[in-house]
Amino acid sequence: MTLSVNALFFASYRDLVGTSHMAVELSPGATVSDLVAELRGRGAPFDTLPAEPAVAVNRTYAFLDEPLSADDEVAFIPPVAGG
């Protein structure tokens, strides 16, 4: 039994990975760190993502040790530059 989350990529990260979103299967109990490791482990282009990216889980900023649940929306947030 796996845990499926929806990964979102914005701005420079979207350019890096070539997509704005993708479903990723993780083991139950996985954290944001596990998602990052899973993606970077796939090699190019995902290994160009930072090892410790800023993220938001379900539209709230979160740290890498945040545990994930089924259908969570995990956004990879490049350094922000609004205004």
Partner: protein
């Protein structure tokens, strides 16, 4: 009433200004962020703003309410634009009013500083003679590592 919005439509400063003000208020401050024609010595031809719109809207609302708490009135409006903007176009407008001026200046400044720290918006500069580039930004507080 505190107003905040993220929009693809051009921003009309006068209509933002008209959202604030009250017979009790002696001061109004309007701040406009505008796309300028230069950055770090490069000549800029335009700017593309991208947003994580589903998150940017609540974060902007949160910033607006925090600023209103500092201001001491609910008379605060902030609109952030996204999409492709030309030089001279308004990217963000912040209007506030309060009985005394210090609070309006402070709240206006607070909103723009917090936008730059934590609104999930990115901008890509376009140049005359080199490829577009994502503008260097800021890692928002509360992310980008493990909990302290």
């Amino acid at each position: 009433m505190v107003h905040s919005a993220v929009t693809t439509d051009p921003i009309d400063p006068t209509s933002v200004l008209e959202r604030v003000g009250s017979p009790e208020d002696g001061a109004t401050v309007l701040f406009l962020g505008i796309v300028r024609n230069h950055a770090d010595g490069r000549s800029v031809t335009g700017m593309r703003y991208d947003a994580y719109i589903e998150m940017a809207e609540p974060v902007l609302a949160e910033i607006a309410h925090e600023a209103a708490a500092r201001l001491g009135t609910e008379r605060l409006a902030v609109i952030h634009r996204v999409g492709a903007l030309d030089i001279g176009e308004v990217s963000v407008a912040i209007a506030v009013s309060s009985p005394h001026r210090a609070e309006s200046f402070d709240a206006s400044r607070y909103v723009i500083e917090e936008i730059k720290k934590r609104l999930p918006v990115w901008k890509q500069e376009h140049y005359t003679d080199e490829p577009a580039r994502w503008v260097d930004g800021t890692v928002p507080p509360g992310t980008g590592g493990v909990r302290a």
